[in-house]
Symmetry: C2
């Protein structure tokens, strides 16, 4: 245990982010040199960085077309990078979808398409069904969000109202081979849910989507009704079983947690991964994890201390105030309040994409003195939380964690170090 | 593993409730026979049941006066039971406070006062400082709830604005001896927080309360200002170090969880107590515990399955709908939705007082078929959750857990059984 607690926590976060950096995690999955042409396509917040890692490491010839988020560009020489909007798609997203679909047609069966897919890809590469507009899709999306559908049901409808998602891009690539390199930001790392799975087999089809629309009585715009009525639904299932596809998850929330766990254990801390997809309101996720931390510190259950608890996944924040906040600092401030200065407990929460909320701050660190130091500076911690001002709070204490945009994303990262009395 | 999953979960809940039943947990802590008089006093939701357990088991003479909640009476022969309002005190609460204070004065040093204290006691036995009214206290309480104070800070102010709480009743009992039998419904089982600690040493005093009032700029009614101004604050610290007090926690959330854990282990299930005081919005506590359950079922982390996860503590529900709900069924419905039918996962959530919310239903059980059975009955599970209709939901499925009021309370009880694929 050579590092001090805050240094240790920072090194865990760095290890988690590094595990998802395309420059480090992509090269081992690159093919040596393919027979025919190598075509690189991709969509997602990490796809430009992934494209660069391909260019830097592939030995043969290649060309490509990849779409990423505005500001997430990484200059490449052979692969064209275009930019579009996220999370709400814009006309550049539709252009990207159309161009990429065009780009992969007319390939031969000796050719290989390397698909670089990461979170955000479905907004960045959008192509609604013929005669439907982006606005139509957004209207359906809005209804989906309020109808009581589960996230899996919403994803099913979204995937099936597209010319690209749910394996439709793979169908267009046929007869060329497909190598998928995926960076996951979704629970359970289901390939069909990462960027709506453009190049993997979907387990659902248009008639599943229709059943969900009926179950929740979603009112459809006329264009969607026409589309759904005009299709022979059963024949519409996207069957890509004939396509030669190999799929690799090159970075996932779980792999990021395992990377951090490996550092912890080297430092002598027993380490427990609570979950790679913990969800819920950030402030409440914090009180639960604080409850577990107190049980450890006070009763040595369910683990004895010293130890480290890791978790990933994406929390939510219901805005009540107008402070400068983000999911991770909201979590951390609520955690610090719940621990109420308990000795020996330290925590870090950060977004692996380096941007927690709208600030160029990845997250923050708290320690047993966090709450009392805030009061010394005239800051009322609970008021800061109520005002969703996590960044304002931790910046004032000098406890922000700043990495700059990492151009990759395996969701939130949380680490709790419990030294107990021993610290 | 002889019991089926739902039977096992019910038996765990029964064991947890039984561990807190005065008839079972109180007798071992009764004195054999005291020298002088034995006087029984008490306040709390469990205090009538505790009084009955004393009458049924104490060998010598006794008399007493105890206050419980309307409807929580248990007829006794020698101990008078009075009833008052909870959670908002009424004039009967003030009468109870005054009568109990009167009841214990003029005792001798050979006499013993047996104090039966449980949750709810501070509302049921209320005596504001002289010249302050219940309304004054309620006005301060309302400001406390919205000012950003922590629960410990709020409790400090509440304890110190009273003629009974924070050890003041113990001071009145002196020179008689005190035996405290406590049933805890508070985090960390701090005796001074159980019913505001009328008969235990308080670590805070009136000047601490004043500092909190100043920190949060609580505006005080004139009566409170006069009270606080007129007292020589430093002399006001309630020092009861000269009183002969022995204190026993006869039932706690942790002991209830341990009782359930012992059943689980006998049935062959490794069992982990996540925390005895898990707090947060019920639906979000559920998504976190679901996240941990999925990690176990899918990745055998941080525990391998089969196993059981237990937790206690009191969650909260922010009402959005007008359904028939309670903290425990809100938790369970959110949990079932988050698990989305995952095979081999079963859960029970119940209030150990037998009353979850306003219904005479303690809680409910869910299994992998819960969500699909609801749909078969035409119930939209997410809409039920949004409408806070947990009782309506589980009653329709025949999965309510009904015990009747248990007349004790060690808070919420949650058990998750993870059989994984093996089930």
């Amino acid at each position: 245990m050579s590092k001090n607690p805050k240094e240790l926590l920072r090194s865990l976060f760095e290890a988690a982010v590094a595990s998802a950096q395309p420059a480090l995690c992509l090269p081992p999955f690159l093919p040596k040199k393919v027979e025919g042409k190598l075509i690189v396509i991709g969509a997602g917040k990490a796809s430009a960085a992934m494209a660069k890692a391909v260019e830097d490491n592939y030995e043969g010839e290649l060309k490509g077309l990849v779409v990423t988020r505005y500001g997430y560009n990484v200059p490449c020489e052979k692969i064209e990078i275009i930019e579009a909007a996220h999370p709400v798609p814009d006309t550049a997203s539709v252009t990207a979808g159309r161009r990429i679909l065009e780009y992969v047609k007319d390939l031969g069966k000796d050719d290989t398409v390397l698909c670089l897919i990461s979170g955000g890809g479905s907004a960045l590469m959008s192509l609604p069904p013929e005669n439907m507009s982006l606005e139509d899709l957004q209207a359906i999306n809005k209804e989906l969000l309020s109808c009581g559908a589960t996230i899996n049901e919403m994803n099913c409808v979204r995937r099936n109202l597209s010319q690209i998602s749910g394996g439709r891009l793979a169908k267009a690539i046929h007869p060329a081979k497909i190598i998928n390199l995926l960076i996951s930001d979704v629970p359970e790392d289901e390939p069909c849910n990462i960027a709506s799975g453009p190049t993997v087999q979907d387990k659902t089809n248009l008639s599943d989507a229709l059943a969900i629309i009926e179950r929740y009585k979603i009112s459809l715009p006329d264009s969607a009704k026409k589309y759904l009525d005009s299709k022979a639904l059963r024949e519409e299932a996207v069957d890509i079983s004939g396509v030669d596809i190999s799929t690799h998850l090159i970075a996932t929330p779980q792999l990021a947690l395992e990377a951090a766990a490996s550092i912890c254990r080297k430092e002598g801390y027993p380490t427990y991964i609570l979950g790679d997809s913990i969800e819920g309101e950030a402030a409440d996720v914090a009180t639960v994890i604080a409850g577990i931390s107190k049980q450890i510190a006070n009763k040595s259950q369910p683990f004895s201390y010293p130890c480290v608890l890791l978790s990933g996944g994406e929390t939510t924040v219901t805005l009540k105030g107008d402070g400068r906040g983000g999911r991770n600092v909201e979590f951390l401030l609520s955690f610090a309040l719940a621990m109420n200065g308990q000795e020996g407990v330290y925590a870090l929460a950060g977004d692996t994409d380096g941007v927690d909320g709208i600030e160029e701050i990845a997250g923050a660190i708290c320690d047993p003195s966090t709450i009392s130091r805030a009061w010394q500076k005239g800051i009322n911690p609970r008021k800061s939380l109520e005002n969703n001002d996590g960044h304002g709070f931790f910046e004032a204490l000098g406890d922000s964690v700043i990495t700059g945009p990492t151009r990759t994303n395996v969701n939130d990262f949380r680490a709790i170090l419990i030294n107990g009395d021993a610290s």
